[in-house]
Each structure stands twice: as structure tokens, then as C-alpha cells.
């Protein structure tokens, strides 16, 4: 071995040995910090009587996050320390905690330190050797690896006290680096006696943090021993929360949201992205700051051009009012998506939708070019936050609205099905700010506004069904016509329409569409087109079959005669209208000489509220106001009369919603009409009985039967 090689080998071995020793020291330090601290909350062994019948109780938990840039190095330290002490009251909890998975810590510059100990009711502590964890490997293009450990000797009545810590060193690759946001609900699966959230942000790192929905504020704590400061929240006595229908936890449960970022001087000076002073909490974002961040995000769009101005100039002869021209531009841009949509369809991939900021920038440019007054509108999805509680930019969504006098017309990012005026369901009714699109963005003056919310009369799913029975009355043939407007429409469009429906329709408004084949692949894509067309009808029928299986609680034959009479792709004819036929032999049941008909099942399966859901301690959030109408017409077979109509007449109406059903005989037909509606998007928990009343009334109706009695 020559000298150089010896030195190199020595260096390598010494480095590895030193690194291992350092890791071992750090592991000991963290063990001491987690298990040897004087924090009395992590010494508790008893749980309150009120929770002794719960499966598990979190005695204490600590989640600590630290971010800092290293001095003189382009490296960031991102650390998190998670410590849990859990009382396991039953076997279910033992099963939940008997196997714990965690990051393997051998990829990149991440080190993971873990510790697990079981505390027996008699106080005996059993420390689990972390080396017994096994590594689940994943290598390759979509690889990830993790470790898992089996906790030995775990029995009901034990306490499991464990920590999972990660210390990461990340190379700085951009001017500004945002770390993953954390939205932490203070009520979680199990009751919590004490919980602590701590955030330490140092040296060129920034912190956005806000307590919402009644969560305690975080306090700045000075640790004189370590000569450091951090933000801390101490909380406790929170009951567990069950999975619940119609709950937006981030709007209703006490929550802390947090996001740290690193920014270089150049980054801070160049981009307005809701950062405050280094190391100082930013817990409020002003309207002006929203304008600034919106401006920054628009500026980052690399390509914001569009061909609509040119097209309109040459081809548009329609009305010249703001709305009409904006509509024409929007539709043309949507039309331009067809080629990409066809390629993706042939590749068996999802249809494209325009990236939000690209849409905002390019459509605003179109409108500017046409000198059409418009606003850039920034809002937050209702389930995420109120606009007043926003603290980071990833919470934001954008729309454009065109102004015409005092009226507005909203535009959202294109897909081949979107129409002018449609506002994404999640943003309807949300508070927002608008910035004048014709004003230079650096001079934007935010205007507070509320986005329109479609009402139950806008979001209407109407189904009209005729039912004919076979001569032996055992088989029913159902002809269904659906007329879908509003928020439910995209679901139907994406299931039953495809790019070729859009092409056929656009061919009536634009020059005939011609597919531009991907480069040097015309033969392949021609073959794909043929294959797609061969399967197209079957694919649509299969999609419809799946929809029927989801909708109806009886076995259905394969549907036939799917006919789409209106695609809903135009704001002039906004409903999607289609019809189909299917049969079932599970609707009518022979009972002696008569026949029972499960007539209630024809209004599709209805959600119900179970006995264990009757008590509710959280408010109610519906995605939308909406309504569902059904008209069912049954040809009464000759020689039979109908009995049982009285139970089909019902009415529950209240401030939250309603369900009404009527039934009558007309010209040898039984006509049943039902109307269910959710009238609001929010109801306080005190309104829960009203929700239960109309929701369960609709569900009860699905169990109703009529009798076809031989005359």
C-alpha cells in the first residue's frame, strides 16, 4: 500500500469513526433531553377518570421544530423533535402502537434518532433497543425507505414513552426556501392531557405562525441556560375527536398553522412573499401584503401569452361588451387546450387544466390587450382558512373577474369543460381581495369582496325517471334523464364526456379542429386514435355502469342508450343533460298475489346519520348549497291498484335544508316527486338536529314501498 493510499484510507476510516461517534453522542444527548428532562408532564402516569374508558390517552406530547442557516455555509438545519407519552388502555391501543414506523434517516443529510420505552403499571421501565428496528428498503426511481420497530412486552395498562427526532442538513439551492407548512389541530384522535408545540427559527430564517379557532397564542420563551428563544404553545385537556361528516377541522377545531422559510438577502429584496423580520413571528397578513405576494407570483409566470387577441381580431363579430368579449377570449383559449387534451387522452392520462397563475397572468394579459376592466381576485378555499387568517401563500387561490358596470363575471383556470362564470366550488362564498388588473401591479389597492356563492337553486341535480314493468311485473326498465347544473356538473362531465365530445362541439364554433400529431409519431398516434375510437362507446358505458352502481342500492343490468344531449360546456346552456336506460329485477318483489315495489330506492342511495353520530360538538360545514330533484313516473300495470301512497308524502323543512316528497296517481301513472336541499354552507352545531331531521327523512324515504294490488 503506498503512502497516499494509506493516508486516504486512514482519513476515510477516521472520518467514518468520528461521524459514528458524533452520532452516538448526539443520540445520547437527545435521549437525555427527551427522557431526562425535568418536564413533569412527561412523568405523569395516571390519566383522568373521564378518559379511563378510552382506548388510549396521550399523557403528553411535544413537537418542536427548529430552522436555521449555518454561518459561512450554504446549508440549512431543519430539525424536528417529537416526543409522545401514551397510556394504552386496551388491546386496540396496544395493536396501534405495537409497530411504529419512522424515517430511515439514511438518505441525504438526515439523521434520525429514536427512543422507545415501555412503562409498566408497577413503574418498571423497559427500554427498547432501537437497533431492533428493521429497514424497509426502496431503491430506484420512486424509491423511499423507512424503518419500523416492534415494541416488545406491550400490554393494556402500559405507558409507551417514545421520541422520533430528525436532524437534517439541507444544501441551499434557491434564494428562498419554504419548508413544509404545518397545520396542527389541537384535537386529534385520542384525548390529550398536555401538548406542547415549539418553534425555533434563527439566522436568515423566517416564521409565519397563527393560532386560529380559539387555539392559545404562542408565546416567546427565553431559555437563558441555552441562551436561545423560541415560540411555544402549551395546551391540554383536549378530548379526542371522531371522524365526522361535514367538518372542516381547520376552520372549527382549535388549530395552529405554521410555516418557516429561509431567504437570502437577495431573495427578500427581490420577492414579496409574506416574510417578516428574521426570527420574528409573522402572524398577520395585511391586504397590501396579499397584493404584493400576488404580484410576485404573477411575475414568476414564465409564459403568459395567448393567441386569443389575435384570433378575436380576425374572427370575432359578436357583441363588444366586456362580458361578451371576455367570454369569447376564454372560450378560444379553452379551445386551444384541445390538442394537448387529445394527446393526453390517447396516452391514457388525465385531462389537462391550466396552472392557476399561468391562467391569471395570460388571461389578464388578454383582457388588458382588449382594454377590458377586470380584477385579479385572491381568495382561500373555505375548508382551509378565512382570508383574515391567511399566513402563507400556498393557502391562496386566484380567479379573474371582469367588470361591466356594477356586474362581475368570474373566470377560473381552463379545462376543456370549464365555462365563464363558474367559480370553483371550494371558493364560493369565500371572502377575498380584488386588485385592478388594468392598474400597474405595484400600485394595486386591495378591495375587499365576497365571492358569490351559488345557491341551492343554482346547484341543481334533477333526475326524471320513467319506470315500466315487464308483463310478469318482475322486471323493471328504467329510463333516466338527468339535468345537472352547478357544482355537481364536473363529476358527470369527467365521467361521461371526453375530448372528442369537446372537439365535435367546438367544430361548430371554430374552424375544423385538426390534431397536430406529436413530433415524428403520426403513425403511432393514428393507431392510438383508432384504438380509442373502437373502445370509446364501451368506455362510456362502463363509466355509466360504475355511476349507476354508486348511485343505486340495487343490482342493475348494464345500461344502454346513453345519449348526451347537452354537454354543459357553454354558459348559455349550462346544464349537462343526458339520458340512459337500464333494467333491474330487484325493484319488484312478488308477495302472494301482489307485488311490493321498493319505490323509495329510485331516488338513489341517501346519506344517513347513525345513532352514534347524533351528538355533535363541532359546527357543520357543507361544501355547497345544493338541491336534488327526482321525478319518478311508474306506469301502473293494468289490473292493479297502488296502495301506500300516504307514506310517500312527507315534508321536513327547516333553516338548514329540507326534504319533501309527494306522490299522486295521474292517468294510470304513479308520479312521485322528491326535493332534497342543503340550503346553507354553514350551520352551527346547535342546528345539528335540523340537519339530522331532513337528511334522515330522505334516507327513510329510500325504505318506502308501495303495493301493486290485484284489483
Amino acid at each position: 500500500m503506498n503512502a497516499i493510499l494509506r493516508v486516504a484510507t486512514c482519513l476515510l476510516i477516521c472520518f467514518v469513526t468520528t461521524a459514528s461517534l458524533l452520532a452516538a453522542d448526539r443520540a445520547d444527548e437527545l435521549k437525555q433531553e427527551m427522557w431526562g428532562s425535568s418536564d413533569k408532564d412527561f412523568k405523569v402516569v395516571a390519566v383522568p377518570d373521564k378518559w379511563k374508558d378510552r382506548s388510549a390517552v396521550i399523557i403528553a406530547r411535544l413537537n418542536r421544530f427548529e430552522y436555521r442557516k449555518q454561518a459561512m455555509a450554504a446549508l440549512l438545519n431543519i430539525n424536528q423533535y417529537n416526543h409522545y407519552r401514551v397510556k394504552l388502555n386496551d388491546k386496540n391501543a396496544v395493536n396501534e402502537y405495537a409497530e411504529i414506523s419512522f424515517k430511515s434517516g439514511d438518505k441525504g443529510r438526515v439523521r434520525v434518532y429514536v427512543g422507545f420505552k415501555v412503562i409498566k403499571p408497577n413503574g418498571r421501565e423497559i427500554i427498547v433497543d432501537p437497533a431492533t428496528a428493521v429497514k424497509m428498503e426502496r431503491r430506484g426511481s420512486d424509491g423511499y425507505a423507512y424503518k419500523k420497530i416492534a415494541i416488545p412486552n406491550l400490554e393494556p395498562g402500559d405507558i409507551l414513552d417514545y421520541y422520533l427526532c430528525e436532524e437534517e442538513e439541507r444544501i441551499i439551492t434557491s434564494l428562498i426556501e419554504f419548508f413544509d407548512p404545518i397545520i396542527h389541530n389541537l384535537r386529534q384522535e385520542y384525548p390529550v392531557m398536555k401538548q406542547k408545540l415549539q418553534f425555533k427559527v434563527q439566522r436568515r430564517c423566517y416564521i409565519n405562525l397563527r393560532s386560529i379557532n380559539g387555539a392559545p397564542e404562542l408565546k416567546l420563551v427565553t431559555d437563558e441556560e441555552k441562551d436561545e428563544q423560541y415560540y411555544s404553545l402549551e395546551d391540554g385537556d383536549r378530548d379526542g375527536i371522531a371522524d365526522m361528516k361535514w367538518l372542516y377541522p381547520n376552520r372549527d377545531v382549535p388549530t395552529v398553522k405554521f410555516r418557516a422559510a429561509y431567504a437570502s438577502n437577495k431573495g427578500v429584496n427581490s420577492y414579496d412573499v409574506l416574510l417578516d423580520e428574521q426570527g420574528v413571528v409573522k402572524n398577520k397578513v395585511t391586504a397590501d401584503e396579499l397584493a404584493e405576494v400576488s404580484n410576485t407570483m404573477m411575475k414568476m409566470v414564465l409564459y403568459a401569452g395567448n393567441t386569443a387577441n389575435k384570433y378575436l381580431k380576425k374572427n370575432y363579430n359578436g357583441p363588444t361588451d366586456n362580458f361578451s368579449v371576455a367570454r369569447a377570449g376564454y372560450y378560444y383559449n379553452r379551445h386551444e387546450l384541445l390538442n394537448q387534451s387529445e394527446t393526453l387522452t390517447l396516452q391514457n392520462k388525465d385531462l389537462p387544466s391550466e396552472r392557476e397563475m399561468t391562467f391569471i397572468a395570460s388571461f389578464s394579459n388578454f383582457l388588458k390587450e382588449e382594454d377590458i376592466p377586470h380584477d385579479i381576485v385572491v381568495a382561500v378555499a373555505r375548508r382551509i382558512s378565512s382570508i383574515d387568517d391567511v399566513i402563507f401563500e400556498s393557502e391562496l387561490d386566484y380567479l379573474i373577474r371582469v367588470r361591466q358596470g356594477k356586474e362581475f363575471l368570474y373566470f377560473s383556470p381552463y379545462s376543456i369543460y370549464t365555462v365563464p362564470g363558474a367559480i370553483p366550488s371550494a371558493l364560493q362564498g369565500a371572502d377575498a381581495y380584488a386588485f385592478d388588473g388594468l392598474t400597474k401591479s405595484t400600485r394595486w389597492v386591495p378591495q375587499r369582496t365576497t365571492l358569490p356563492a351559488l345557491t341551492k337553486d343554482d346547484n341543481v341535480s334533477a333526475t326524471s325517471m320513467t319506470v315500466k314493468l315487464s308483463t310478469d311485473l318482475q322486471k323493471a326498465t328504467l329510463n333516466v334523464q338527468r339535468n345537472i347544473r352547478g357544482v355537481e356538473k364536473p363529476y358527470h362531465q369527467y365521467r361521461l364526456l371526453d375530448v372528442y365530445d369537446a372537439i365535435d362541439e367546438d367544430n361548430k364554433a371554430y374552424a375544423p379542429y385538426e390534431y397536430v400529431y406529436p413530433h415524428k409519431a403520426k403513425k403511432e398516434y393514428t393507431a392510438l386514435q383508432q384504438a380509442y375510437q373502437q373502445n370509446r362507446s364501451k368506455s362510456k358505458t362502463d363509466a355509466l355502469k360504475d355511476m349507476i352502481a354508486d348511485d343505486y342500492e340495487f343490482k342493475a343490468d348494464d345500461p344502454t342508450d346513453l345519449k348526451i344531449t347537452q354537454t354543459g360546456r357553454s354558459d348559455k346552456d349550462p346544464a349537462m343533460v343526458y339520458s340512459f336506460t337500464f333494467g333491474t329485477d330487484e325493484l319488484v318483489k312478488k308477495t302472494g298475489p301482489n307485488y311490493l315495489v321498493d319505490i323509495g330506492k329510485l331516488i338513489e342511495g341517501q346519506v344517513s346519520i347513525r345513532a352514534d353520530e347524533m351528538d355533535r360538538d363541532q359546527n357543520i360545514y357543507f361544501d355547497n348549497a345544493r338541491s336534488f330533484r327526482y321525478t319518478v313516473t311508474l306506469d301502473i300495470p293494468a289490473g292493479y291498484q297502488v296502495q301506500g301512497l300516504d307514506k310517500l308524502n312527507s315534508r321536513v323543512e327547516n333553516a338548514v335544508g329540507g326534504f319533501t316528497s309527494t306522490a299522486k296517481e295521474e292517468n294510470g301513472k304513479l308520479v312521485i316527486e322528491t326535493y332534497k336541499h342543503y340550503g346553507v354552507t354553514f350551520a352551527s352545531k346547535s342546528e345539528w338536529p335540523n340537519v339530522v331531521a331532513f337528511v334522515n327523512a330522505a334516507h327513510t324515504f329510500t325504505g318506502q314501498k308501495i303495493l301493486l294490488k290485484k284489483k
Binding site: 386496540n92 431503491r139 400490554e155 434564494l175 403513425k523
Partner: protein
């Protein structure tokens, strides 16, 4: 609940480039790589398949290396896409005894197909950790009719681990060949299973100092798992490979030539286990302190292991066959079947019993010990003899009573250790009566409300499962489990109440007493009441699909009996009773009856599935019976008000 939402990428991304990349997945599929005629022919043959194989060749070459009989496997799978834009992920499995060699995916032109490869642990249900690994090769075929050949190579470093080979694949296969090149100095046999009806041909030809075995099958549909199936070994054709022996340097070495060899090897692994009884002694003494009879002692130990050792399986390398030491399992309070069997044995030995390790295959494996292969067993239990009586103890069966045996091992051969020898014996088979579920209810009408009280008595497998569920569900949810057991799917307008706390007693039938008031079982039409007396409607619509390949297995033998006694309301007469049903076959019997006795209506519903399964050959008989049963269930009792 931490919620991550998307990050703003300040560095930005080249959206135009991204779109361009999106549009150009793989354009290397020149027309010469497609075969429209073959695609059309296979599309007609294998309906709804997006891919098919028109040739699948597995070549096993056995060689003696390092004093071991080894085998290399080269597989060539000729794949054709029957649809456009198909993504396929081809797995290649390996473990400590199988190494993976080079893998290639090439177009018909010979040009390689872009492949994304991911390798890692293969996670098997119920196994915490094993040496099973998989490499997944993902590739995209754009044009319909594209032909590619997937070639993989593996080496079995010891052919005792090469046990079963299926002819079917997850893709439909037009022609499948499996060849074995065996040196004359080795003895390897092939047991052919489930060949009937598949027209599989076999040739044996000399090849120098070797023999070449060639099996060929044609037109094989895609292999698929079916719910309620005993698994593919029961119906798919396959070969069991028996590597018996080999001779090298004039020395003959047995691999596994007979069940003696299998036992000797198993026993040698058990011998290596370093059991230490010391940590167990106090526990055994505590458990058996008050036991008066040998049977009570065995119960005390057996039940303690069932209740206290959680099933967590490590099957890493030889740990897949060798039990963990008893003291480890005891201290960890977890283990797999082998660990539990070994712990049970050691604890029983401390208590003075002659307990033995016992190997067994569950009912997923349709072989007995006439097949000398690792493929014959997949489970380990403990047996103990007391005088003439033998107890079979499977501590993985939680809440099973001594003397009862899990459905999955009944009738199966056990390989019981016996020093240098072994004993082969069968686990007794219990009848369907052992799994009786009896439900007896009395019903009265209060207006349109059907009020009832009842008792449900559960024996056997179901009792064992319910005890496990009820003790492992969250304690705050336990009452919901029992309420839903006695009246499934009740609404919040109904009242259902279990009135006793069913004791956790594995030795007695579980009895659940309850009352209910149900709102939607009676429909009033003028002067008539239509009553749905049986809302469980057991087995309704359970028709077997024509395309099902395997027998339908219910996981247990079934004997359910429901009797209901409805007191007729005053002033009403029965004007219609459903006709009832009586069906009997070798597989099952169904009895449903409605009978009026004075002022009471008696309803009986008893279904017995004698062996817990419906054979595929009996599907037509079963479906006809279910059709009639559906008609009975659709019918209702009608009471008419008398003037």
C-alpha cells in the same frame, strides 16, 4: 393531523418544457415493433386484457455448485399490448435464497425499452419483516400491438427453496413453456398438480449428460386472486419440484429426497434454537399453581400464550423456518407461529409435559406429507400427549378452547417431532355443528313497530372471531359491535340493545341477549300488514359468477339457525305466508319455513354448508337454490285486519 399543502417554488419551473416532456413519453416505438394481426387475434381470445403474452418461457438449469444443487432461471416473456398507452409494472421476486441477475426489456427490433426500476422489500400481509424482496420494472407501451420481450435471470442458491411453479401468469399467455435441464448426476422430480383440462404436454429428452424436461401449455387466461378462495394451489395447474439428491465427486448428497430428509432438516433447525427455560419457570409455576389436572395445566399455559403473545412475524432468511427462542418470545410478548409453538412447548415441558414441535400446512396447501417439499407446510403448532390423549395447540388461534381446532388446520396432516423419527397424524375434522350459530327471537307488533327480544348463541369459529374482535376493538366501541351483530344495519330510529355483557369465555358458547324495536320492517297498506320477519336474509344474492375459477370457501363450516316466533296481533289473520324452501345437496342444505300455530307465526331459517365450501362443479345447483331463496326472501308475511 398535520396537513401539508403545496409549496411555492420560488426557483420556478419551466412550464413549457414540462408540457413538452409530458407530450413526449416514449416515441421510440417505431411501427416495426407492432404486430396488429397478433394483437387482434389475442384481443379476441383474451377479452378485456390490455396486455398479453404470446410466449412465456421459463428455463431452469440445475447445476451442482459449491456442493449444493443450484438452479438458474432465465425467463423470457414476449408481451404485446392489446390497447394503446399501457403502463406495465413487471415484478421479479427474490429473497435470501434467490438472487436477481440482469433484466432486459427490448422491442422486437432489439432496441431497449426505457424502464424505470424500483427494488425493495416486498411487504406481505401479516408479516412484520421478511427477506422477500421485489424489483418492479415499469415501462410504457404507446401503440396498440407493440411487442416487447422481458428477460430476467435469477439464481436459486439451493434448490430446496425452488418448490412450486405455476403455468399461469398475471398476464394471459398464448403459449407457456417451462423447461428443466437436469444433470444426470442429480435426481429431480416433478409432481404435476391440477393438470386436468389444460392439455399440458410434457416431453423428456436426453441432452448430453443431462435430461431436458419440457412442459407446454396454451391459451392460459390471466391468473387472478378471487375472494373467498382457498388459493391458487387448489385450482391452477402447477408443478411441485422435488430436488431429491445429487452426486458430486462420487458422493451422493440428499437434498430432500423424502419426508425423512425434510424432517431431519426441520429438526436440525429446531435443535439450533437456544431455548433457556429459566425466565419462563416462575410464569409457568404461577399459571399452574391452582391447576388440579393435567388438562387444567395445559389450558392455563395454552390460554396464556394465546392471550399474551401478539402475532408479529419476522421471517428473515432462516428465521422463516427456525423458531425464535422461547425466552425471546416470552420477553418480547410477540412472535410468529413458530415462536408461539416453541414457547408453548417449552412452558409445557417445564410443567412436566411431553410437548412436541409440530409442522403443518394450512388448508391453503392441498398436499400432505407424501410430498417431500418445503411447499407442504406453512405453519407450526405444538402437540402434547397425556396418556392416550393428544392435544393440538395452535396459539396463533386467539380465543380457541383446548380440544377445538382452527378450521384452517382441520383434516391436515401434522409432522410431529419424535426424536430422530417423526409421526404423521391428521388433525381431527369437526362437523358444521361445531360452528352452530343459533338465533331465537320472540316478536310482537306495537302499531307499525316490530318489537322483539332474542338470544344469539354462537359456537366455534365465529365465537372465536367475535371474541377476538370484541377484545381488540376500542373499548368505547364494543357495544356497537354487539348491537350490530344482533341487528345489522339498524337505523337511528330503531332501538337495539344488548342486555347482557357476553363473557370472554373460550370454553362456552357465547350468548348474547338483546331487545329491539324496529321501525321499518312492517308496512301497512289499508287493512293489511306486510311483515319482513327476516332482515338478515342470509346468503341472499350470493350467486356464484360463471367466470369464477375456484371453489367458494366461506372460511368455516356453516350452520346457522334462526327461529322467530311472532305473536299475531289481535284482530288480524294471516292471509299470506311465503312458501318456504327445502334444498339439500352434498355441499349444503337450506331450510326455510313459515308456519302458523294458533296465534303464533313460526319462522325457521337454517343453512348448513357442510364443508364450508361450494365446489365449482356445484355452482349451478347452488345458484338455483339461491334463486329460490331470493324469491322466498322477497316475499313477505301478510296479515289482514278482520272485520
Amino acid at each position: 393531523m398535520h396537513l401539508s399543502i403545496h409549496r411555492l417554488h420560488i426557483a420556478g419551473k419551466n412550464a413549457v418544457l414540462a408540457v413538452a416532456m409530458l407530450l413526449l413519453p416514449v416515441l421510440a416505438t417505431a411501427q416495426k415493433n407492432t404486430n396488429a394481426e397478433r394483437a387482434a387475434a389475442l384481443r379476441a381470445r383474451f377479452k378485456d386484457a390490455k396486455l398479453a403474452s404470446y410466449g412465456y418461457r421459463s428455463e431452469y438449469t440445475f447445476d451442482i455448485r459449491n456442493s449444493t444443487l443450484q438452479a438458474t432461471l432465465k425467463e423470457q416473456l414476449d408481451i404485446i399490448s392489446l390497447d394503446g398507452s399501457v403502463t406495465y409494472n413487471r415484478p421479479v421476486f427474490y429473497n435470501d435464497n434467490i438472487t436477481v441477475g440482469d433484466t432486459e426489456v427490448n422491442y422486437a427490433s432489439g432496441k431497449s425499452v426505457p424502464v424505470s426500476k424500483t427494488c425493495g422489500n416486498y411487504e406481505v400481509e401479516d408479516v412484520f419483516y421478511s427477506d422477500a424482496k421485489v424489483c418492479a420494472y415499469k415501462f410504457f407501451l404507446l401503440s396498440p400491438g407493440t411487442e416487447v420481450t422481458f428477460t430476467s435471470r435469477e439464481t436459486y442458491t439451493d434448490t430446496r427453496y425452488l418448490t412450486k411453479i405455476f403455468f399461469h401468469d398475471e398476464l394471459p399467455v398464448e403459449e407457456r413453456t417451462i423447461t428443466f435441464s437436469i444433470p444426470n448426476s442429480a435426481t429431480v422430480e416433478f409432481i404435476e398438480k391440477n393438470f386436468e383440462g389444460y392439455g399440458i404436454t410434457r416431453t423428456v429428452t436426453p441432452d448430453g449428460s443431462r435430461k431436458l424436461y419440457r412442459y407446454t401449455a396454451k391459451d392460459l387466461k390471466a391468473m387472478k386472486g378471487e375472494p373467498h378462495s382457498l388459493g391458487p394451489l387448489h385450482n391452477y395447474p402447477h408443478l411441485v419440484v422435488i430436488s431429491k439428491d445429487f452426486t458430486a465427486s462420487n458422493v451422493k448428497t440428499n437434498v430432500i429426497a423424502s419426508v425423512d430428509d425434510l424432517y431431519k432438516w426441520y429438526a436440525s433447525l429446531v435443535k439450533e434454537v437456544k431455548n433457556d427455560q429459566a425466565p419462563l419457570k416462575a410464569e409457568v409455576a404461577r399459571l399452574t399453581a391452582t391447576a388440579k389436572t393435567p388438562e387444567e395445566k395445559i389450558k392455563a399455559i395454552y390460554y396464556w400464550v394465546q392471550d399474551n403473545i401478539k402475532y408479529i412475524a419476522f421471517e428473515d432468511g432462516i428465521a422463516g423456518l427456525k423458531p425464535d427462542a422461547a425466552q425471546n418470545v416470552y420477553n418480547n410478548r410477540y412472535g410468529d407461529c413458530k415462536g408461539m409453538a416453541n414457547l408453548t412447548k417449552e412452558m409445557l415441558k417445564i410443567a412436566g409435559f411431553d410437548a412436541r414441535i409440530t409442522w403443518i400446512g394450512t388448508n391453503r396447501i392441498p398436499y400432505g406429507y407424501e410430498v417431500p417439499s418445503l411447499a407442504v407446510d406453512n405453519h407450526m403448532i405444538c402437540t402434547v400427549a397425556v396418556g392416550d390423549k393428544q392435544y393440538i395447540l395452535d396459539a396463533t388461534e386467539k380465543y380457541i378452547a383446548l380440544g377445538m381446532h382452527g378450521e384452517r388446520i382441520q383434516g391436515k396432516e401434522m409432522l410431529i417431532e419424535n426424536g430422530d423419527k417423526f409421526i404423521v397424524k391428521k388433525v381431527p375434522v369437526a362437523g358444521a355443528d361445531q360452528n352452530l350459530i343459533l338465533q331465537e327471537e320472540s316478536l310482537v307488533l306495537e302499531g307499525d313497530l316490530l318489537r322483539g327480544q332474542g338470544a344469539m348463541t354462537i359456537h366455534g369459529e365465529s365465537k372465536k372471531n367475535i371474541l377476538y374482535m370484541s377484545t381488540n376493538i376500542r373499548q368505547e366501541d364494543q357495544h356497537k359491535l354487539f348491537d350490530n351483530l344482533v341487528v345489522p344495519d339498524y337505523t337511528n330510529a330503531d332501538q337495539v340493545k344488548v342486555t347482557n355483557t357476553p363473557p370472554v369465555d373460550r370454553e362456552k358458547a357465547m350468548e348474547i341477549k338483546y331487545t329491539y324495536g324496529l321501525t321499518n320492517k312492517v308496512t301497512r297498506f289499508d287493512s293489511e300488514l306486510y311483515i319482513d320477519v327476516d332482515w338478515n336474509k342470509a346468503f341472499k344474492n350470493l350467486k356464484m359468477e360463471d367466470e369464477r375459477q375456484s371453489d367458494y370457501y366461506f372460511n368455516r363450516k356453516i350452520n346457522t339457525k334462526v327461529t322467530k316466533k311472532l305473536t299475531l296481533p289481535k284482530g288480524y289473520a294471516v292471509t299470506h305466508l311465503p312458501k318456504g324452501l327445502r334444498k339439500n345437496s352434498d355441499d349444503f342444505s337450506i331450510l326455510v319455513s313459515f308456519e302458523q300455530k294458533g296465534s303464533e307465526l313460526l319462522y325457521t331459517n337454517q343453512v348448513i354448508i357442510h364443508h364450508g365450501r361450494i365446489k365449482k362443479s356445484d355452482f349451478a345447483t347452488w345458484n338455483a337454490a339461491i334463486q329460490e331463496l331470493n324469491e322466498v326472501y322477497n316475499d313477505q308475511v301478510v296479515l289482514t285486519k278482520q272485520n
